[in-house]
Amino acid sequence: MNTLLTSIDRFFFRKISASGFGLMRISWALVSLAYLLQGLPDVVRYYSEDGLLPESLGYLVFRTDYRFTLLNVITDPTAVFILYLLLIISTCYMLIGMWPRLMTIISVVLLCSFHERNLQPLGGGDTVLRLVGFILMIAPEIRAFSFDRAEEQWKHWKVRGILLDPLKMSIWPYRLLLWQILLIYITSGIDKLTGTMWTDGTVVGAVLHHPHFARFPMWWMDILSVLSPFFGYSWLLFEFTWFLLLIPKNVTRIVPMSLRKHSLKRWLILFGVLYHGGICILMDVGSFSFAMFTIYLGLLVDEDWVVIRTTINRKWKGSIIVLYDGVCHLCQRGAFLVLLLDNLHRLSLIDFRDSAAKKKVAPELHEEDLDRALHIKLPSGKTRQGFDAFQALCWHLPILWLKVPFLYFPGVAPIGRLVYGKIAENRNKCSDGKCKHK
């Protein structure tokens, strides 16, 4: 009995990284925001009493029992539009992570209210967003990668010089999310087998030729349709393979280690990104692909982050020494931010005012030079300073990867150096009494 209770306790309450759910919160907000903004011109038309579906015709579209929507009481077109704007605002706060719990609840309740008001424009992606939103609302920890968390980190780092331990949460919301994605794929797969076109391999060709969905000209779809059986059967295989995740780990121990060491879940997520990404590129199916990517983020746990980091760092050796001014408030903020974004764990921050620490890592650099600009020392021994240091650092901070190409546009570097120089020049003209040197 004790063993059973321990197993149940572990199954529902073992601690996992909360990073996946933090990213899922951000992704949910981003996807919702994109489609909410796209839908702004149609708000009154789709969701108000003056639009396509007045309440008197509602019985033709939605159920009447157990239907909760704020739009049952808010029917005036102007009020509906204002409520939609409130939804957009709360989603923005949810995205950046200010009051994440409250903003998540508001965003999910409002989104569900709009969805329940008119089902006609909704697609599979909208359903996924509702389901995931509910899990986010009840999950015990969604503050990872949030503004609120960053503030807590800053307070801790200022005093202790190190970041807080990563956030953890009980695994039960992850179990709910995994169960949800299994339902999506398995029930969908079963349904497909009851037809004829999925089994005879002609389905993808037909779908690609439907102009309501096709993004590209038909002559291009004619060519792609030759691959219809491959895409169709591999999609069915992908959907049913998720079923294997229901097999308990102590049963999979019989599988040879050479196969067991690779995570089936990660491979399925990778193929899912490829499949849904391909669907998104070729077809307009609303938010479905992006909503599924949102679920995938929530399924990433501790060992997945380790594998992702190890894979990206497989050719990386050493660390980048970042020398910053530990008595300058602005520099402290900058160093803290860089540390926060160091998801690949490649940086080592050193306060150059600590002579012993500085001598250990960069004895050749003089304090006067370090005082003029941020310096970094790469594992190769080369140093970079100022804007060039920032440019080099961006390659190693995943959240800034999208920025990297822009930093190499013609003209950006000279302007960057100029701007950096001005900021560095003025950083010591502090009026808060925090820029005293030893």
């Binding site: 006609q120 424009p121 039960w172 037809g195 004829t196 060709g205 004619d222 030759v226």
Partner: protein
């Protein structure tokens, strides 16, 4: 029993009920007995929870077979010279930013679960055009559609190239613009 243990039991019970509820709701209707009876019992008990929390779901996107009917809505206005087309709602005419939602809306206006007559919805749809016309103007909905073929064997590129849609037209609902 401490509060912590009670809390854990409550969470476990909630998870089990939630997973059973969404699982039963999402499961197809045609599963064999005794699963079908068990499913129906669970759905009957948990549907208030499923509906109130908007957890309802059916994953029949492009299944059992994908949608092959391609429809466009044409709005006509009656003039002295006859009927004049004033708008087309189709894949080539709807703006990109609401193509998915608008085309889904017109498709859903044709579908009906349980055979309910959706004429009133389509009438409402074309009544929206009355704001541009005088009272008493007659508007009608004309639908053009074709069906993408289901080839019995995998078609070649040439067969797809050769495919020409066979459009069918039908005259649907008609409204008279009311006085405001």
């Amino acid at each position: 029993m401490g509060i912590r243990s009670a809390g854990k039991i409550a969470i476990v019970l909630f998870c089990v009920i939630h997973m059973a509820a969404v699982g039963a709701y999402a499961a197809p209707d045609y599963i064999p007995e005794p699963l079908k009876t068990a499913r129906q019992k669970i759905v009957d008990v948990t549907s208030p929870y499923i509906f109130t929390t908007s957890q309802w779901q059916k994953w029949n996107l492009f299944s059992p077979d994908p949608l092959r009917r391609v429809v466009t809505f044409h709005i006509d206005r009656e003039t002295k010279e006859g009927w004049e087309e004033i708008d087309v709602i189709g894949p080539d005419t709807v703006a990109w930013w609401h193509k998915a939602t608008e085309l889904k809306t017109i498709r859903r206006m044709e579908e009906s679960e349980g055979g309910a007559n959706l004429n009133a919805l389509r009438e409402r749809y074309i009544l929206a055009y009355c704001k541009d016309f005088a009272d008493g103007t007659k508007l009608r909905l004309r639908r053009l559609y074709y069906v993408i073929p289901h080839f019995e064997t995998l078609p070649t590129i040439a067969q797809w190239h050769a495919f020409q849609p066979e459009w069918t037209q039908d005259f649907d609902v008609q409204v008279t613009c009311p006085s405001t």
